[in-house]
């Protein structure tokens, strides 16, 4: 049979067997393919850099490399979701291994160094394993996209499959299958050497070719070889023009991940001299914000947990990113051409966009549908930042055009005039504390903690009950604390997330001035919105404090034995994770620990909990806006009903409002109630009746 004889201990194969003469044409084709790849990426680079304000994310190289290795190479973020994680992992690792395999082959061929024996056997086995993996991965992908058809791969029940998706899947599948056919033909031509059984897929394939003449085998091998090689070259050339470009863009995006606190939104830093605020046109995004859209693979994980999308609103984070991408692909070549025409010195005459970014491209509704719950950003495997884009567009609508919901205008006026969204007289802010004898910072600034109460805890009757319960817990545990009283102002979170950065900064600066004036170091909040704002947004404006949420404090006080919940609270309870506590600040365990410490409670988890928690609907200034169609809070309440909860525990006064409303809307007031974790612990202390008296005494003393 063939010339080289591979015997035991000397197992191997001829690289380029039966195709040695094709090596030069193949090199030429490869050159062409790589040239197209290079050209395509170069053109893409021009488009990436043509539009957008500069933004570099190249600091902290070591952290970035680690992020890339973890999430790119090791697929950590992709594999958080099982089916697509396995599916993508199979294809991804196969691709990675097979590319090195091909390179290894080329190296052997050109260097003349042949690895025979065991290394060959291992190599061939591994290549077959990953070749098969790729096929399984592609089959899983085809099944998912064309048979299973989860909604996340579409929009509102309609799949958004493109021809490109099919081409890519078929391309990979055919490359893999032809690879195994080539291997099988070769093994058949070598008359089924025993050792080739390690190439188990190729060997199995070869069994189909029994009884075929050597010439036919060789001819078929050559034909198949060319087909395979050309497809592989095609793959390389096609990459920059297809969804395959994510092989380049996704890792780059992962490298450029936001390393600032999760949910970071760049504040507007100069109100006096800037001419425009927020983003109303594509080129007002940063290059990174636009690049995000090219890293998106339309996997739909963002859409899959989006409370707005799942309750039938127009917003889909995926669609938004894709709409921006489509717009960018229309605009960017024009802008690039104009810049080229003007030269480095000239002023480019950039044609005005025909479409308005917000009204036509993204849509005004989607911009306002978002609750800022961060589900999309938490689960995006390539770290696309949806929420900051939405806030930027809201900023434009609010600050530049003053074109936004009238009810939100009222909220802002209320915040301006009375420093709370309801517009209740600011002098009433500390009325809840009157009967408790809680000190103000003005009375005693030498306390350990400032209890920043926030608007809901100060003005909403339901919120006030939470505040009172928590203040009682602090007193019971002997924690040294004070409040700001009527000096406290609105934290501004709703203004910031609703796009009114100007109002937000005014409110924040007021609070910072007061807090810094008292030399405040540690702060406790009961509201996760204030918590997040004070902890993560205020430092950008000069307010640096250690900020704790009451769930952290209560958990600590229980752990240290300062609070002893002893009285059983017999109920099936579920915890609703607040987005601003959970996803924003990764506080999932503390409220659960608190509940588990209460005897009698049976904690059950809703289908969507922890990082998959479903927003109550109040975040991102949605609390103050009219909601049309299916209400998010009712959908969330249904999930609590579904697990048979008698009590829904919350750790956020706004979640409390939304869930209580949901319980009422669902007519479940008799069977269910919602309680803050502080209220539950207070019940369990069983000191409630004794508690009243010392408070009253203090007041008279």
């Amino acid at each position: 049979m063939e010339k080289m004889v591979y015997t035991a201990g000397n197992e191997g194969r001829d690289v380029f067997w039966n195709a040695v003469n094709f090596q030069i044409p193949l090199d030429i084709f490869a050159l062409i393919a790589f040239a197209i790849l290079g050209y395509g990426l170069y053109k893409r680079w021009q488009l990436w850099t043509a539009v957008g304000k500069p933004e570099t994310r190249m600091d902290q190289r070591n952290v970035r490399i680690k992020t890339l290795l973890r999430n790119g190479l090791l697929q950590a973020s992709v594999s958080r979701d099982k089916y697509p994680g396995i599916m993508h992992g199979l294809i991804f690792f196969a691709f990675l291994v097979l590319i090195w395999g091909a390179a290894f082959d080329a190296f052997q061929f050109y260097s003349g160094i042949h690895f025979l024996g065991k290394p060959y056997l291992i190599f061939s086995f591994v290549m077959d394993v990953f070749g098969l993996a790729a096929i399984i991965g592609v089959v899983l992908a085809i099944n998912r996209r064309y048979f299973e058809k989860p909604d996340r791969l579409g929009y509102k029940g309609k799949p958004d499959n493109k021809l490109d998706d099919a081409i890519v899947l078929v391309l990979i599948l055919v490359i893999m299958v032809t690879g195994f056919i080539i291997e099988g033909l070769r093994i058949a031509a070598f008359d089924y050497p025993e050792f080739e059984k390690v190439s188990f897929v190729g060997y199995t394939t070869a069994l189909m070719f029994q009884g075929i003449s050597l010439d036919t085998l060789k001819f078929s091998h050559q034909a198949m070889w060319w087909f395979h090689a050309l497809l592989a070259m095609g793959f390389i050339a096609y990459l920059p023009f297809s969804r395959l470009v994510h092989i380049v863009t996704s890792p780059i995006n992962q490298y450029m991940k936001n390393l600032k606190p999760f949910g970071y939104v760049e504040p507007i830093r100069d109100f006096e001299n800037a001419e425009s605020f927020g983003v109303g046109k594509l080129d007002e995004f940063t290059v990174k914000q636009i690049f995000d859209s090219d890293a998106c693979t339309r996997c739909g994980r963002c859409q899959d947990g989006c409370p707005a999308y799942l309750t039938g609103k127009d917003l889909s984070p995926k669609k938004m990113v894709q709409d921006i991408k489509t717009h960018w692909l229309e605009r960017s070549p024009l802008v690039f051409a104009a810049k080229q025409a003007a030269g480095p010195e000239g002023t480019p005459e950039i044609p005005e966009p025909e479409k308005s970014l917000i009204n036509d491209v993204v849509g005004a509704n989607p911009v306002w549908d978002c609750t800022n719950c961060m589900h999309c950003m938490e689960h995006c495997p390539v770290f696309i930042e949806h929420v900051p884009k939405i806030i930027d567009m809201r900023r434009y609508k609010v600050l530049m055009e003053a074109d936004f919901a009238p009810e939100l205008q009222l909220t802002y006026r209320n915040m301006e005039n009375n420093s709370n969204p309801w517009g209740i007289g600011s002098h009433l802010r500390a009325d809840w504390a009157k009967e408790l004898g809680v000190k103000t910072m003005a009375e005693d600034p030498n306390v350990e903690y400032l209890f920043y109460v926030g608007c809901s805890g100060s003005f909403d009757d339901r919120g006030k009950k939470i505040t009172v319960a928590f203040a009682k817990l602090l007193k019971e545990a002997g924690v040294s604390f004070a409040i700001l009283g009527t000096e406290e102002g609105c934290c501004g979170d709703s203004a910031m997330r609703g796009g009114n950065e100007y109002l937000y900064q005014a409110l924040a600066q007021y609070n910072i001035e007061i807090m810094n004036g008292y030399g405040v170091k540690k702060i406790i909040t009961t509201c996760p919105h204030g918590y997040n704002a004070l902890k993560k947004d205020y430092p950008l404006l000069g307010g640096n404090y250690e900020v704790y949420h009451h769930s952290e404090i209560i958990a600590d006080l229980i752990a240290s034995g300062k609070l002893k919940p002893t009285k059983p609270v017999d109920a099936v309870i579920t915890l609703h994770d607040s987005c601003f506590l959970g996803r924003y600040n990764k506080i999932y365990d503390q409220p659960r620990k608190v509940l588990q410490a209460v005897p009698g409670l049976k904690l059950v988890e809703m289908e969507k909990c922890r990082d998959h928690s479903f927003c109550c609907g109040a975040g991102g200034a949605r609390m103050w806006m009219e909601e049309h169609g299916t209400r998010i809070n009712n959908t969330r309440t249904d999930m609590a009903i579904a697990v048979g909860a008698q009590k829904v525990a919350t750790a956020c006064p706004f979640c409390m409002t939304m869930i209580s409303d949901g319980i009422k809307d669902r007519g479940k007031e008799e069977q269910m109630s919602s309680l803050d974790i502080a209220e539950i612990v207070l019940q369990s202390l069983g000191t409630e009746s004794k508690q009243e008296e010392p408070a009253a005494e203090q007041k008279t003393a």
Partner: protein, 326 residues
């Protein structure tokens, strides 16, 4: 300074409005303290016949100007006529109604007579021969005692506050010529659109009857509409009712709906979530009807009824019909 307590009587379609008798009775009281006469100005078309009725409430003289130009009311015609007769007679006190028409006329007269006025008074007395008017300010958060140094001392009285007291006087009718200059009558009333309950927008209504989750369904609003019809009120709704599709969005009262401040807000089956309270708590009077005695709305209510609204509201409709017919 002149002498006499004068009022500007208000009539519509040939019948005195009740506030005219309140004005007359109050003027009588003041005039008795001052030892002066009460005179009334009556403007209209074909109203001479009713002028004498004012005598019953203590008016000594009624100055009547009968002219088609006085119907319907326009500022130009009425202000010119009243200013003319007042200037001729130089009274010490001039009282008007703080009604829609009276407010418009009174303010113009302040300009024409170059004097001062206490608007929308809830109490009025004579102290040391001078008029002292008490009036709510800052939406009733405090009251001011007002003294007018100009002449006449003007005040407008809030309707339904001052008692109607009968005290028969001559009520002698004196016709006068208003001397209207057609060229000076610049504004024209093109149309009078009568309102019926239910068509009034909640943001403009003086009375709102509002329903919430407790209405149980869109059909429940029938009884609210009936009550609103009697009271010439608007029908409002809470967020829950609008969300449920029972009422249109334009009727929604609250943080995300309309902010209202009517004289009377009747909340039926509304628990009183903060979002709702933010939209209506500046109402002058709040009535709450709810089965749940713990509902937060009762803390804001001036009058509360803990009972089934479906039993209470129809009874209120009956009762109001009766009271308003009196």
């Amino acid at each position: 300074m002149g002498k006499g307590v004068w009022i500007v009587a208000e009539q519509r379609e040939g019948a005195f409005r009740k506030v005219s008798f309140e004005l007359a009775s109050t003027a009588r009281k003041l005039a008795d303290q001052l030892g002066e006469e009460v005179s009334a100005v009556l403007l209209g078309s074909g109203v001479e016949g009713i002028a004498g009725q004012l005598g019953k409430y203590g008016v000594d003289k009624v100055f009547v100007a009968d002219n088609a130009a006085f119907e319907p009311y326009t500022t130009d015609a009425h202000a010119a006529a009243v200013a003319k007769i007042v200037k001729e007679n130089d009274p010490s006190i001039l009282l008007l109604a703080a009604s829609a028409q009276g407010k418009d006329l009174a303010a113009r007269l302040v300009g024409k007579l170059a004097t001062g006025m206490a608007s929308d008074c809830t109490d009025i007395k004579i102290d040391g021969g001078k008029l002292v008017a008490v009036r709510p300010m800052y939406a009733g958060k405090c009251y001011g005692e007002v003294v007018v140094s100009g002449s006449p001392q003007m005040a407008s009285l809030r309707p339904n506050v001052f008692p109607v007291v009968e005290s028969a006087k001559a009520g002698a009718v004196n016709k006068f010529d208003a001397g209207l200059d057609a060229a000076a009558l610049k504004t024209k009333v093109l149309e009078v659109q009568k309102e019926t309950g239910g068509t009034i927008d909640v943001s403009e209504a003086n009375i709102i009857v509002s329903g919430g989750r407790g209405m149980k369904g869109p059909e429940g609003y029938g009884i609210l509409e009936e009550l609103a019809g009697v009271l010439k009120a608007a029908v409002g709704a809470s967020r829950a009712a609008v969300d449920a599709g029972w009422r249109p969005l334009k009727d929604q009262v609250g943080q995300t709906g309309k902010t209202v401040s009517p004289n009377l807000y009747i909340a039926c089956g509304i628990s009183g979530a903060i979002q709702h309270l933010a939209g209506m708590s500046s109402s002058k009077y709040i009535v709450a009807i709810n089965k749940d005695p713990e509902a937060p709305i009762f803390q804001k209510a001036d009058y509360g009824i803990v009972d089934d609204l479906f039993k209470v509201v129809p009874e209120m409709t009956k009762e109001c019909k009766k009271l308003l017919a009196e």
